[in-house]
Symmetry: C2
Subunit: 347 residues, 2 copies
C-alpha cells in the first residue's frame, strides 16, 4: 500500500498552498473557483482522506460525541437476553448526534475497571454522555474538567461531581406512583408488591413512587421492596420465582424495569399463574419488546428519543458556555396501559 496522502501532497498536486486546500475542504471560505476545482480534482485523484487526529488537534474540536453505557451482559452470550434499555438510548443518541453533525463514539464500561477505555473515549470527543453506574465518580469529575459531561439516569452522586456534571433523569417517582395508582384505583388491587432492581438511585426512586401511591391512599406501606432483581430478565425471573416458591401470591407486581417484569412473566407462567387474571404485572422503561410479548406489558415509558436529543442539547449548551452551572433536568414519562395490568382482560 502506497503512502497515505496528506494536505501537502494535495497542495502540491493542485499547485496551491495547504491553507487553500484547507479552506476548500472546510467549505465556507472565499477561494477562487478555479483553485477550488483544482483542489477537488487533486483530492479525488490522490484519494485523500484527511486525518481526523490532525484535524482535531489543530481545530481543537472532534465532531464526535461519546457515550458510555454499562455492560450488563458481562461475558454471557449476547444473544441470551433481550435488548436492553440502553440499546434504545444508543439509537436515540446516535440520531440526535447525527442531526447535529456529530458521530457517536460508544463503549461499554464497567464501574470498576476499564478506566483506560473511558479515557480513550473521553480524550477523543467534544462531549460525553454517561449512563448511570458506568464510570467512577472521581474519573467522571476529572473528565468533566476537560469536556462537558451529561449523566443519564441515577442522581445520587457526590457533591463535588454534581457540581460539574449535568444530570438528565426521568420522572421515576411520578411514573411509579402513577402506574401503582392505576393498579390500585382502576383495578382495585390491594395486594400490590414491588420488585426492585439492583441498588441504584433509579430503582430506589421508583420504589419511593410506589410507596407514595400507597401512602396517599392510606394503605400499609412496605419499607422495603418485596424482592430484588438486577434489572435483567434472568434476575427478575429468579426474584419472582423465589417469592412464589415461598407460597406468596400477590395480586399485582410493580417491577423496577421492563426486563424485570419480563422475567416475572416467565416465573409466573412457570407456576401456572395467568397474567393478568391471577397476577397483574407492570414494568418501567418502555422497551420495544414490551409491546410484543403476550400479554403486552403495561409500563412507564421513557421518552427515549427526547432523552437523546436533550442530552446532546445540554452538551452543546455547555460547549458554548463552559461557565454554565451544573443542571438537573427531569423529563416526564408516560404510562403505557396495555394488557398485563388487566386492562384488556374483558371479564
Amino acid at each position: 500500500m502506497r503512502t497515505v496522502p496528506t494536505v501537502y501532497e494535495v497542495a502540491r498536486h493542485a499547485q496551491v498552498s495547504t491553507a487553500t486546500v484547507s479552506r476548500v475542504l472546510s467549505g465556507n471560505d472565499r477561494v477562487r473557483p478555479e483553485y477550488r476545482e483544482r483542489v477537488f480534482a487533486a483530492v479525488a485523484e490522490l484519494g485523500y482522506v484527511p486525518s481526523g487526529a490532525a484535524r482535531d488537534l489543530a481545530a481543537r474540536r472532534a465532531g464526535v460525541l461519546g457515550l458510555c453505557f454499562p455492560d450488563l451482559v458481562g461475558d454471557q452470550d449476547i444473544e441470551s437476553d433481550a435488548m436492553f434499555w440502553y440499546d434504545e438510548i444508543i439509537r436515540g443518541m446516535e440520531r440526535a448526534a447525527r442531526r447535529r453533525g456529530y458521530a457517536l463514539l460508544i463503549a461499554a464500561c464497567h464501574d470498576t475497571d476499564d478506566v483506560d477505555l473511558v479515557t480513550t473515549v473521553a480524550g477523543r470527543c467534544d462531549g460525553l454522555v454517561v449512563l448511570a453506574r458506568t464510570v467512577p465518580a472521581p474519573v467522571l469529575e476529572r473528565i468533566a474538567g476537560r469536556i462537558p459531561v451529561v449523566m443519564l439516569a441515577g442522581t445520587r452522586t457526590p457533591d463535588e461531581v454534581a457540581r460539574v456534571v449535568d444530570h438528565l433523569v426521568v420522572a421515576n417517582r411520578a411514573g411509579a406512583r402513577e402506574v401503582t395508582g392505576h393498579l390500585l384505583d382502576v383495578h382495585g388491587y390491594t395486594d400490590v408488591w414491588f420488585i426492585a432492581g439492583p441498588d441504584s438511585p433509579d430503582s430506589a426512586a421508583r420504589f419511593e413512587g410506589y410507596q407514595s401511591a400507597l401512602t396517599e391512599r392510606g394503605l400499609p406501606v412496605p419499607q422495603h421492596p418485596h424482592a430484588t432483581g438486577d434489572f435483567t430478565t434472568a434476575g427478575g425471573r429468579r426474584a419472582v420465582a423465589a417469592l412464589l416458591s415461598e407460597g406468596h401470591r400477590p395480586r399485582a407486581l410493580v417491577c423496577a424495569n421492563d426486563q424485570t417484569a419480563l422475567g416475572a412473566l416467565t416465573a409466573l407462567a412457570g407456576e401456572g399463574l395467568r397474567v393478568p387474571q391471577d397476577v397483574a404485572v407492570t414494568g418501567f422503561d418502555g422497551i420495544q419488546l414490551g409491546q410484543h410479548v403476550r400479554p403486552a406489558l403495561t409500563t412507564v415509558a421513557q421518552p427515549m428519543r427526547q432523552l437523546g436529543e436533550t442530552a446532546v442539547s445540554m452538551l452543546e449548551e455547555r460547549l458554548a458556555d463552559s461557565a454554565l452551572a451544573a443542571r438537573l433536568v427531569e423529563m416526564p414519562v408516560r404510562v403505557d396501559i396495555r394488557d398485563s395490568c388487566g386492562c384488556s382482560a374483558v371479564p
Copy 2:
C-alpha cells in the same frame, strides 16, 4: 473552567520530562518506580486527561474502530419500528471491539449524502466496517487506501472496490434454500411464495436460494419474487396486504428478512388468516423480536456475535499486513425452527 492540563504541566509538576510521563502512561516501559509514583500523583492532582487527538496523531493509531450502518428509519419516529438487524450488529461489534481494547465509532449514513460524516468517521479510526448499501463505492475505495475496510453483507460491488475491501457475508443462498426445503419437505407445502426485500444483493441471494430449493425438487420455479418489500415491517405488511387483497392465498411465505416477515404476520392477521394453520411464514436474520412474537418466527439466524468478532479480526489482520489480498468470507447460518412454519402446531 481553568485551562486543561497537558503533558507539559504533568511533567513539570512531577519534575520529570514529558517523555517519562508518556512512558509511564503507556504503561509498558522501564521507569524508576519513584518517578512513576510522582507521575501518577501529578496526573491525579491536575486531573489530567490526555488528548486523544494528539495521541493519535503522534502514535498514528487511534484505538478506535468505525461502523457505518444504513439509516433505514430516515426521519420517521425511531420508536415506530422494532429493532433492526443492524442494532444487533452494533452490539456484536461493540463487544468484539471492546474485547480487543478498541472503542467503537458509529454513524448512520445514507448512500447518497453524508459523505462528510463518513469522512469524519473514517479519518478517526484504525479500521472501518461498513454495512452494505451505506457508502458509495468510490468513497469506499478511497477510504480503503487509508485504513482497512470490511464490508458486511451485500457483495455486488465493482471490481476495483472488491480488490481493496474485504467482504464478510452470510450464507444467504444456503439458508434460504434450507428453510424453503423445510417448508416443502417437512410440511409438504407446495404453494410457497417469496416476499423480497429492496433491490439488494442479500435479498437477491436469498431469492436464489429459494429458487434452488424448488428446482431441486422439480417444482415450478418463479423467475421473480411474488411481492417486494423494503426490509421494514411496514414494507412487508404492505407487500403482503396487496397480495391478499388481490385474492392470492399462498400456503407459505418465505420472507427476505425478519422485519418483512413480521409485517406479513400483521397483514395476514388483518385478513383473518391464521399463522401457521392457514399460511406459514418464515423470516431471515434471527432478530430478538422473532422469538417473542406469536407465533414465534421460524427464521434463518445469522451469527451476530461471530459476525462482529470476525469483522474485527479481519480488520486486525489487515492492520498487521496491509499487503493482504482482499478476501471474501462467508459465515454459516442456522435455521431456527419455531412456530410460524407450522412445526409446533400439533394437529
